[in-house]
């Protein structure tokens, strides 16, 4: 098995120490950081995301793989910065104001990072203006919002409206998700997309950023 395949395998198994050691080994063998990133780390997380989508593995398995990806990225990061390799897109994420539930939002963030996106996670209880300010200041092209409570869902509409009011809707797209949120609700408030689960949200963000 090649070192790239071994890294990918270690990542899928959630073995962070092995991924870190093998990533170092791959660099010493002269493999390019970009190749290690796309083939092994993003490639491994893609497998993990697919398995999760198919309900073959559970959330903690995904999170262990994410930790392993992080371990590999720690080794690669200085080399990627030196090589000037950009992320495939920037996404601002948060649970909307009044909502503290963030497991789903965290998972979306982790899968987005695994897919090569830069994620600016604002946490929970995020005010509408904070979403828009962060996206504008950090040059993000997508705002992702999560809500678990029916009583906090209306805040999503405020963010969508604010993006439009500030005439940023041509370059900042919005996606919503969370247990009580639906495709119909997303359409009603004028959001650009709806993610019905974390893996689907990543697919929708990819579509938004390549559209």
């Amino acid at each position: 098995m090649s070192v790239l395949a071994e890294i990918k395998d270690g990542l899928v198994c959630g073995d962070d120490e092995r991924v870190s050691e093998l990533t170092q080994q791959a660099i010493e063998q002269g493999l390019s950081p970009q190749e290690i990133l796309s083939e092994s780390l993003i490639g491994g997380m893609t497998i993990v995301g697919e398995r999760f989508k198919e309900h073959e593995i559970f959330l903690p398995d995904v999170l262990l793989a994410a930790k392993a990806m992080h371990a590999g990225m720690e080794v690669l990061r200085p080399l990627l910065i030196d090589a000037g390799i950009p992320s495939i897109g920037k996404v601002v994420l948060g649970s909307v104001q009044g909502d503290l539930h963030d497991i789903g939002k965290n998972l979306v963030g982790i899968l987005l990072k695994g897919a090569g996106f830069e994620v600016i996670d604002l946490g929970n209880d995020v005010a509408p203006q904070s979403f828009v300010d962060a996206a504008k200041e950090r040059g993000a092209s997508v705002i992702g919002m999560s809500a678990l409570l029916t009583t906090t869902m209306p805040t999503m509409a405020k963010v969508v409206d604010l993006v439009k009011e500030r005439k940023l809707d041509s370059r900042i797209k919005t996606i919503v998700g969370g247990a009580p949120v639906s495709e119909m609700f997303a359409r009603e408030i004028g959001a650009d997309a709806y993610g019905f689960d974390a893996a689907n949200a990543v697919d929708r963000v990819k579509s938004l950023t390549t559209a």
Binding site: L59, H70, T150
Partner: protein
Amino acid sequence: MTEVLTFSTGEVEPDRDSVLQNQGIPEGATVTDEIERLLKSAIGAFHEHGKPVGMTGEISHVDFGAVYQGEGRNEDKTPVGDIFRRAERLALFVVTLGERICARIDELFRSSDYALACMLDSVASAAADKTAEVLQERYADSRSGSKTENEGRAVLRYSPGYCGWHISGQRGLFEFLHPEEIGVSLKESFLMQPLKSVSGVLIAGAREIHEFEDSYSFCAECATRGCRERIRALYRE
């Protein structure tokens, strides 16, 4: 009059299934040894960092009516709005696991230990609910009367932010109860600090007052329908 109640972490340790269900793992599913290790580690961290404490205070129907009305942002018709008027007794409550466990969760996320952070988050969420449940049981037990007199009666808790009771109801609840005494404060957004806290009203009365159809305007958007199980549970006790 308000009362502060303390709990041991053993008393409010959540059961395995409720934690795993918070992680999206269905009841009865086979999980890997690694997930079992994570769960054990998170339960250990809960016992180390959790400081469960609660507070209750009885409130009259009139005063609760004002707390419930809050800033006037509730849905027109809600279960709580219908139920509390038929209650025999009402009490506001707040429980918390304290700041340390929340800080530990943040620390784990910051160090990219996502799996343990998330598992501890689920343990803490389930434990906060369990603390509220134990407080509810203690309140029910504190009611005077023989077993026969209490037959057919039940205490259930309801929280702002759920079932059409707008989260802004937290303000009146805090002004009445002052849970700052147990280290819980309210943010501008009406969320509590520490995050792993639960607030609401305990409604005591005839068992049937807690029964309602899930046909309120907001029920269509509710993904959990947890009310159905709560109502069913009333008749299993």
